[in-house]
């Protein structure tokens, strides 16, 4: 892997990490909103929607964080 390719991968990982955090926070907000709902169906919808956002955001954050650790090690060794 060339240095440019490595830097591009680091850039992508940083972008994904930022997106992951953003989506994760919104997932948490939707979960908090369950407290303001009235019916069971609404609570379940908020729960599922919030969990989906948390899974997507959390997944993006975790994957990109792992990538960043690996890529930073490679970058130092170059």
């Amino acid at each position: 892997m060339t240095e440019i390719e490595l830097l591009n991968k680091i850039k992508t990982a940083k972008i994904n990490r930022a997106l992951g955090v953003f989506i994760l926070i919104f997932g948490l907000m939707v979960l908090v909103a369950i407290a303001f709902t009235e019916t069971f169906v609404q609570q379940m919808t908020d729960l599922v929607a919030g969990m989906v956002l948390i899974l997507i955001g959390g997944g993006m954050f975790w994957k990109s964080q792992m990538n960043l650790v690996q890529l930073s090690t490679k970058n130092k060794s170059l």
Binding site: A18, I23, I25, F26, V30, A33, I34, F36, T37, L53
Partner: protein, 502 residues
């Protein structure tokens, strides 16, 4: 007006978008970073961004409204009106543009035909995009005014401040990545709305039965193909010839704000895959935007304006939290449309007007600065012209309609330019000018030629056909290009990567 948790979510979304957009500033060092994201973006992000740019907030509301009025036939715009064109773009056109290292569609037209074609095409896009900006700023302000109770001018300035800052600093990377967030939230909220909507109307079959018995005007609500003599704007002839053959292709292949996204891909595979992934996502859009419109027929049967269908469904069906999230996605849809226009117009001006006519051969930093300053000027222009929308409420439809008239002739010269070596610079130029003039003529005298209320699909088809024929006739009468001049610009030839002279 929103309240409590939903209000908080909308505010958090706006602030979060600003911070996220500003974060991308650190990835912009050259003009290529600013206009093409350093050619390093992955297909999934570009695919999502294409879908979000295509279906902005105004379209979201508009399509639901049309589903409320005319039924499922409006879904044609996202199925036959998008998917085949996106696949054609992915496999035929995008690889040529990407390998050619192009920034704009007019740049290709300039290389294939001549400088005049490039300038006319570019100037027309710039004009339309700049006019659209004011309309979108006004629409954003009205949305914020209704939801949050903010005064109109505060709403306009805050929208311009947020979008302007992240587009000015982050360039197209910020534009695309903020679209990714918007798409995920729009899909999650949209599916939640469909699920709860179906629950409210007692299931799909119950909804079909109820709508079918509501009166004669609802008889064809579930016919995806409408007869050619229908009074709705979607007869099958218009859908097939105007939409599938012309407008869809012109939009997916010839629209700068769409194609520019594919040019940001890290390699040719990602450029192609972005369109294919986008087309897969597009197939879900009718479910998200069309179904709520249909459900609103049952839940809110007496709406005076069909465009109220979606906002009313969101308000009455979604639970707290998701209401805020969906309205935030609406607002983000408007922001996405504005940031796309800002960045694409800056690219068109810098690459097609400034670089060839005002200052050739300047440093890369200079062009980066020009792009940023153009973004700033456009922002000010958009804010200054936004009140026009309040004086002329039909201006958005008028701009969109005229834009569609330009797309027929543009697609005719793009198609012949790629597939027919014999087409010449004079053929392309005359086809563009006469095609646009013919579209304007048909629009002015539309009552004499068409019996439907808005014949834009037919006008696109006929202006495309006239442009196509004119291009062939004039090309056959004028001197053809040499093989060397066509190198890398026509089908089956390899595209040259350096900037050849026009």
């Amino acid at each position: 007006m929103l309240a409590g948790i939903d209000y908080f979510i909308v505010i958090a979304y706006i602030v979060g978008m600003l911070l996220l957009g500003l974060y991308f500033k650190k990835f912009v060092n050259t003009s290529e970073d600013y206009f093409l994201g350093g050619k390093s973006l992955p297909f999934w992000a570009i695919g999502m961004s294409i879908v979000v740019s295509d279906i902005g907030a105004l379209d979201f509301v508009g399509v639901s409204g049309q589903a409320y009025r005319y039924g499922v036939s409006v879904g044609n715009f996202d199925w036959v009106g998008s998917v085949p064109a996106m696949l054609l773009a992915a496999f035929i056109f995008i690889p040529y543009f990407w390998r050619g290292g192009m920034y704009t569609i007019p740049e290709y037209l300039g290389r294939r035909y001549n400088k005049s074609v490039r300038t006319i095409a570019s100037a027309t896009w710039i004009l339309f995009f700049a006019l659209d900006l004011g309309v979108l700023f006004w629409a954003s302000a009205v949305l914020l005014n209704v939801l949050m109770g903010w005064p109109i001018w505060i709403s306009i300035l805050s929208t311009a401040g947020v979008v302007g800052l992240y587009t000015y600093f982050g360039g197209i990377t910020a534009v695309i990545m903020t679209d990714v967030v918007q798409m995920i939230i729009m899909f999650v909220g949209g599916f939640a709305l469909v699920f709860l909507g179906l629950h409210a109307v007692g299931g799909w079959e119950n909804m079909v039965e109820k709508i079918s018995t509501m009166g004669p005007e609802y008889q064809s609500h579930f016919d995806i193909i409408q007869p050619s003599d229908t009074t709705s704007p979607f007869p099958w002839t218009g859908i097939l010839f105007g939409l599938t053959f012309v407008m869809a292709n012109a939009y997916m292949i010839g629209n700068q704000s769409i194609v520019q996204r594919c040019l940001t891909a890290k390699n040719e595979w990602h450029a192609k895959a972005s369109m294919i992934f986008g087309s897969a996502l597009k197939m879900f859009i009718p479910i998200l935007v069309l179904f709520p419109g249909l459900m609103a027929v049952v839940v809110h049967p007496d709406l005076a304006d069909g465009d109220q269908a979606l906002p009313m469904m969101i308000k009455s069906i979604l639970p707290p939290g998701l209401v805020g999230l969906m309205f935030a996605a609406f607002f983000a849809g408007l922001m996405s449309s504005v940031d796309s226009l800002l960045n694409s117009t800056a690219t068109l001006f810098t690459k097609d007007i400034y670089e060839p006519f005002i200052k050739k051969g300047a440093s890369d930093k200079h062009y980066l600065k020009v792009g940023q300053i153009t973004t700033l000027i456009l922002l000010i222009f958009g804010v200054a012209t936004s009140p026009i929308s309040s004086d002329f409420p039909g201006i958005y439809v008028a701009i969109q309609t005229f834009m569609s008239y330009f797309q027929g002739p543009l697609f005719a010269i793009l198609l012949l330019g790629i597939f027919w070596k014999r087409t010449t610079q004079w053929g392309g130029l005359s086809a563009l000018i006469i095609g646009i003039a013919f579209a304007v003529f048909l629009n002015v005298f539309k009552e004499h030629f068409f019996h439907i209320e808005d014949p834009f699909l037919y006008i696109s088809w006929w202006s495309f056909l006239v442009g196509f024929v004119i291009n062939i006739v004039v090309s056959l009468c004028t001197k053809k290009h040499s093989e060397k001049e066509l190198q890398g610009l026509v089908f089956n030839a390899k595209i040259v990567t350096e900037n050849t002279s026009i």
